[in-house]
Symmetry: C2
Subunit: 138 residues, 2 copies
Amino acid sequence: MNIGQAAQKSGVSAKMIRYYEQIGLISPPSRTDSNYRVYGPDEVHVLRFIKRARTLGFSVEETAALLGLWQDRSRASAEVRDIASGHIQALEAKIDELQGMVKTLRHLVHCCAGDNRPDCPILDDLAGTPAGSQTKGH
Amino acid sequence: MNIGQAAQKSGVSAKMIRYYEQIGLISPPSRTDSNYRVYGPDEVHVLRFIKRARTLGFSVEETAALLGLWQDRSRASAEVRDIASGHIQALEAKIDELQGMVKTLRHLVHCCAGDNRPDCPILDDLAGTPAGSQTKGH
DNA sequence: ATAGACCTTCCCATGATGGTAAGGTCAAGG
DNA sequence: CCTTGACCTTACCATCATGGGAAGGTCTAT
């Protein structure tokens, strides 16, 4: 099948398939006489693997590692688990960071009257107004 | 003061200060005869505002809006609150997404023996093994 | 034969940041 | 006065993953 159909079946855009080929994540497929890339079910399977890993937030580099392990018959599942565990930790750190932001913002929004007065504790905070004039006591 | 000191006082790198000037987030400062940028306390204050907003996860575009409101004496704080509220929602959506990933990954890691057998439910999931053969029942 | 859908490669853009290189400037000390 | 080192300037390139588009070739159906 051509790249368009492989894209449709795998959920990876044709553009990205070429990109993955270019960076060596997937191997170059065979070509027709007219230089069209030709894919078979196996290639689509690989693309779907990549798609799923990317959807789960693995970087392309991590995906490459997982792909290598997937295609390695003698792989140790412990390696895979380590990659996944490390990724979970990274995701959780990111979540914590975002939650910290949300907490601060919610506090600020809570302190904000939301009316038409020019007083705005949110802006005051961003401006670095000496802590205590607006938000002290919370 | 020169850009280096402004960077140090504001926490925004000299590189980024020039970038912010280039994209119009801040106005071009005056220059010395030798073409050095010159900053005063007001500019540093603005930079700190920007730094804080970026730290809270506001995009540069959102930061520009907040900055405009901050500098507008007749602003309505409701506008500010709307921007912040919208940002909170966006952050929470991102958190949900990440938590979904973590949940899936934790499930997979939990199902993974982590030994040296080539069986690996994580890879099986990524490969799109028909649901039910490994993970059903959880 | 022609239209339209597909393919090819190549270049550019994003967003926010860092790096580097080539050159100008300034302040301190010999 | 001159050197040294720290600073500044602009300009370009890289990141990471993705999309957009142009210019041109190919295939399929009418």
